[in-house]
Symmetry: C2
Amino acid sequence: MAGEAKVLCMGNAIVDIIARVDDAFLAKHDRTKGAMMLVDAAASARIYADMPPAIERSGGSAGNTAAGIASFGGSAGYIGKVHDDQLGIVFRHDIRAAGVAFNTAAASDGEPTATSMILVTPDAQRTMNTHLGACTEISGDDVIEAEVAAADILYVEGYLWDTAPMKAAVVKAMDLAIKHGTKVSLSLSDSFCVDRFRDEFLALVKDKVDILFANEAEITALFQVETFGEAVALLRPHIRVAALTRGAEGSVILTKDQEAAVAAFPTEVEDTTGAGDLYAAGVLYGLSEQHDVETCAKLGGLAAAEVISHLGARAEVSLAELAAEKLGL
Amino acid sequence: MAGEAKVLCMGNAIVDIIARVDDAFLAKHDRTKGAMMLVDAAASARIYADMPPAIERSGGSAGNTAAGIASFGGSAGYIGKVHDDQLGIVFRHDIRAAGVAFNTAAASDGEPTATSMILVTPDAQRTMNTHLGACTEISGDDVIEAEVAAADILYVEGYLWDTAPMKAAVVKAMDLAIKHGTKVSLSLSDSFCVDRFRDEFLALVKDKVDILFANEAEITALFQVETFGEAVALLRPHIRVAALTRGAEGSVILTKDQEAAVAAFPTEVEDTTGAGDLYAAGVLYGLSEQHDVETCAKLGGLAAAEVISHLGARAEVSLAELAAEKLGL
């Protein structure tokens, strides 16, 4: 299957454990609403023991993006580390069944497949508590040069930028992409991630990234500025394309000589989990199919609207059919 | 926690793997629509490999019933066997988080926690493919006399009647119930189960069961008669209460001197999985709270309507609140 995917996505392979809770639950467990917080095994068990009945569904930011690209009818591959356990089997099944090429070997030693307890509050916000588990076992060995070389775009989630071996895997993939003329795309993922690794993210953006995904909080945190406009001005020299999401206001897509604001698709919001991931799916699918950037942003908005209309971060309808119906594509 | 539960439910502890498929998928894999079919590990893997992306959710017939009773605000316990693995942890978490007492030790040897691949077709029918796994490890040792003695009702799903050790566990529980004046309730579960074990089920119904649950296909199969009326006449001498479901037509509740037909609650049907389980939850909750049998049947119909309005076999809203709103209880 190597060499088939136009968009190769790379990230933490996670099974989501999703439940609705009230704000008091977040307060009791000292969770910051809307954030992704890493938890160790003990904290994970403590929160889970107190959590209501849940459903399990494959997730992982870049995994959601890859599944979204495939749902559009695009060509997607995935690199991510699961353990050889029940949830690892679930993750592998779901991403392959979605039509994504996924060949990363499962770890047979070490920690279990990663889980993220996703707490959805009545305001449809999601608060994520991720136990990285087997994701920390990823290394440069999991990056296959032929897969990177064959792709048009390598897409990396910022969440993957964590331990030294994880960072080494990211750098290896990006450097191989640059060597082979594959465009490099990065999502900043989360403003707390940006705060932790600001200088490193800034260096990646300046030196390696062609296509950047960020929301307003992340991009202003990256440049330590007050306003979106200031961040845009500072970012522009460094990227080929930037897709910047602004929640209910939609998104702004930016190139060296173009800036287009695209409104969000109206929808009933049930659970915002995966909004950014599916937005990225639409944009990356659009870019891989040579659509103009404004159309790419519309595809992103369409996919984001679908995924926030229900619980869970994978699309529940064919995004290809949705794009045909809503955008005539 | 022993001794707290008024209704002690006993069955196969299963995590459901749920996906929507079309009729062609059932045909390709030679599945009988609407049935529960047992599959071995190889057949399970074969169907799973071909199945679309899925969600995982705790299930198991009697587990669904126990969770439903708890959702009504009733007092429920559960006996069932999981393995000490990730899906076993999921099952245990969910049933306890639902408010059900569950103390059966997990198996540390042998097969993994049971899964059922539930294929939901566009007509909202569910076709189940169950790999019993750790469920076959249950034995009489898992039946705690004090728990049975303390309960008002012991409820057993017919699916549990499979291998000799599983049957021995059921018989031990029923005999302890009879010894301690705990009423014995049985669900016939599935007409294929009835066909396989007709004589044994008939003996249980005649000798041990006070409260029987069955649908029309199961009860006519049990007595090998053509019509519902004939089955009712043959059944009546043997039971204290029978709750007989007739799909969209509602249910009939039967005692020695009473017969009441109760209409189904109207609802949009998304997925019929769990309809019988939640009907049983309403009836058992009602009986445990000393409601009259017609009210019990209404509670059953209400819970069944809730569970078939969405994917998955556990209630998604508080059945206590629903009963207050719809039935003024």
